[in-house]
Symmetry: C2
């Protein structure tokens, strides 16, 4: 502690033992800096954090040593001492299913959410710890979540629902916010879009503006709350219109390939009974990726969209507007979902005692051409 501090009082720092940052192989600690600068660790800590009450000359000296040694505080140690990690986690559990089309599974959604999270975090400068669990072996899920949860101050969970009791246990230990989760969830805060309103709007548009009467529904996995809401709303809206019926449906996994498979079922059914009313005049999909798959498969079979069959999606991913024909869909503010979820999470991290919150964001019908409208045309019904 009482080392010859004089040895680097002014500018001759580079002379003392391997100071030039060369010896960087070994990580430097607060103690190294303190010793080298001839002060206590408390002072170095104060300087590092730009706190008041340090004589300017001392501060300068310490700063020089920090710079020379290339000192960077270890974040584990900091987290431990100040009991905060300054990291939030974003996790997604991909819906189970055959390992086809891993490529473009449901990630587009997560990625958009991630942007929102990032932007909400940018002021704080906290990074995001991200982990996607694919091909889940149910049992391991909770373990994995635990492990992640130990590395962050709070967790954002998207697209994937743990057994409620697991979620409860998790949320009891650490702040958790569900992105696009069920609004009925009582164990964690939730941010979700108005899925019912959106689904109702497309279906109504198809029926009332285009006179469609034989709808086929391509839904998402039944475990996904947003998929359940959409399906429910679609069925209800159809029921509300006499003469309109659901000719069939398919449970997909929000992947492009699901849309293709659904269409194959439709085509197969057409083969069997040649009564024209077996084939739908509109295919309503629970997300854009499946709509894309459906459209391609339809077109590949020589069926025109929307002339022969209309197709609609949900989400409004970037790609939708670029397709031929441009996709009619329901816009869900994915990015905003991420932002809000992250805001709620930060609030709760700051005060874990906060009352339970659920937030719904609006959706909006985006009419393009795949429904049968043409060009930059008519608005919603």
């Amino acid at each position: 502690m009482g080392l010859p501090r004089s040895c680097l009082l002014q500018g001759d720092i580079t002379d003392s033992e391997r100071l030039t940052g060369r010896g960087s192989s070994s990580a430097r600690t607060l103690y190294d800096v303190a010793r080298e600068a001839g002060v206590s660790t408390a002072t170095v800590s104060r300087v590092m954090h730009g706190q008041e009450g340090v004589r300017p000359s001392t501060r300068r000296r310490v700063l020089e040593v920090i710079e020379a040694l290339g000192y960077v505080p270890d974040s584990s140690a900091q987290s431990m001492a100040r009991r905060r990690k300054e990291v939030v986690g974003l996790v997604a559990i991909e819906s189970r299913g055959p390992q086809t089309e891993i490529e473009h599974e449901g990630l587009l959604f997560i990625e958009e959410v991630l942007r929102g999270v990032e932007s909400s975090l940018s002021s704080l400068g906290w990074p995001v710890l991200i982990s996607v669990r694919r091909a889940a072996d149910d049992a391991g899920d909770y373990q994995w979540l635990q492990k992640i949860s130990a590395k962050v101050d709070g967790l954002l969970i998207a697209e994937g629902i743990e057994p409620p009791e697991d979620l409860a246990r998790l949320a009891a230990r650490i702040p958790v916010v569900l992105v696009s989760g069920s609004p009925d969830e009582r164990h964690a805060d939730v941010v979700h879009a108005d899925n019912r309103g959106g689904a109702t709007a497309v279906v109504r548009h198809l029926i009332e503006q285009h006179g469609k009467s034989r709808l086929y529904y391509v839904g998402g996995p039944h475990e996904a709350p947003d998929a359940r809401q959409r399906r429910g709303a679609v069925e209800e809206e159809i029921a509300r219109h006499p003469g309109v019926r659901l000719t069939g449906s398919f449970e997909g996994r929000f992947a492009t390939v699901s849309g293709q498979l659904a269409v194959r079922e439709i085509l197969a059914a057409r083969q069997l009974s040649d009564r024209g009313d077996a084939v739908p005049d509109a295919v309503v999909c629970a997300n854009d990726q499946m709509a894309l798959g459906a459209m391609r498969e339809l077109q590949a079979a020589g069926i025109r969209v929307p002339a022969d069959i209309a197709v609609t999606g949900f989400d409004d991913i970037y790609l939708g507007a670029l397709l031929a024909p441009p996709l009619t869909t329901v816009r869900q503010p994915m990015r905003r979902l991420g932002e809000r979820a992250c805001d709620l999470l930060l609030d709760r991290i700051a005060d874990p005692a906060l009352p339970h919150r659920v937030e719904q964001l609006p959706t909006e019908l985006v009419v393009r051409e795949s429904c049968g409208c043409h060009g930059p045309a008519a608005g919603p019904a």
Copy 2:
């Protein structure tokens, strides 16, 4: 320490003080478990890690307490003790520029890389710490990198090059791998695609298969090494063909809007001189996003692609095949890039003394229709 261990020997765990996980408001520690189980922390630690040398009955008892208490080891403490964080970082620095079109900047690349990283990490179960720095104020960049670097065992840096000296300092403290970085970088390992080969191939295709002779180049930011390589190769290949020339070029930022801006320049120039040879017969873009922007702007101006002007991209993002016309491009294995980069990083984390490595991955010309070929047609030149 010498607590009445008998109180929960068998199954009456739920009786001892608030064991049922209800009191979960306060985080449990190894000590809590040890005390409750009537053993030392060392034993609990052994059990947690499934180590040998623990009497089965003891193990069971400890396990029960762990379960009952909902104990999850704190990762900061673990990191500290075992001097490893089990997290790798992925960072990107978005190229500076006007804050237009933040939406779909260059992220598509990162996201694809992320998938590779994720998959390479999935066996270890390590998560990825991700942080994108936008609207960079140069000075803060290094600070920010330092902060991130303190939270991970190794860093993957994509699309964005720090001043070399900063990189050197960073890499001296912690393993760093550049994704799509300059193969000449000596301070960190690098994984990159064969940008020169790919760029050469498209240009040659345009010239030799389609007889194009007036090329316009829409490049990426000059700070990006991959952008530089592509530009260099394009120019060289043009020079190699007498009678073919570069009618102009534009320095974009890999964003959709850059492609649009570039085309506006082309159109503006056309207004001025009405000599037909002022306008290019092909627009070569340094990535698909810019090609997309260029194509849309061209089409919006009533110019047919590829009939009037051919357009090509680079990367082969998913979207490219879905455009009208489908985009001719150069496939770069982005996902694989992420995988390999991550593998190299893990190697280096395991052994920091490893020799410096640079790895090149192949690119491949993907001929579709925007170049003038039709349907699923002819291969490369």
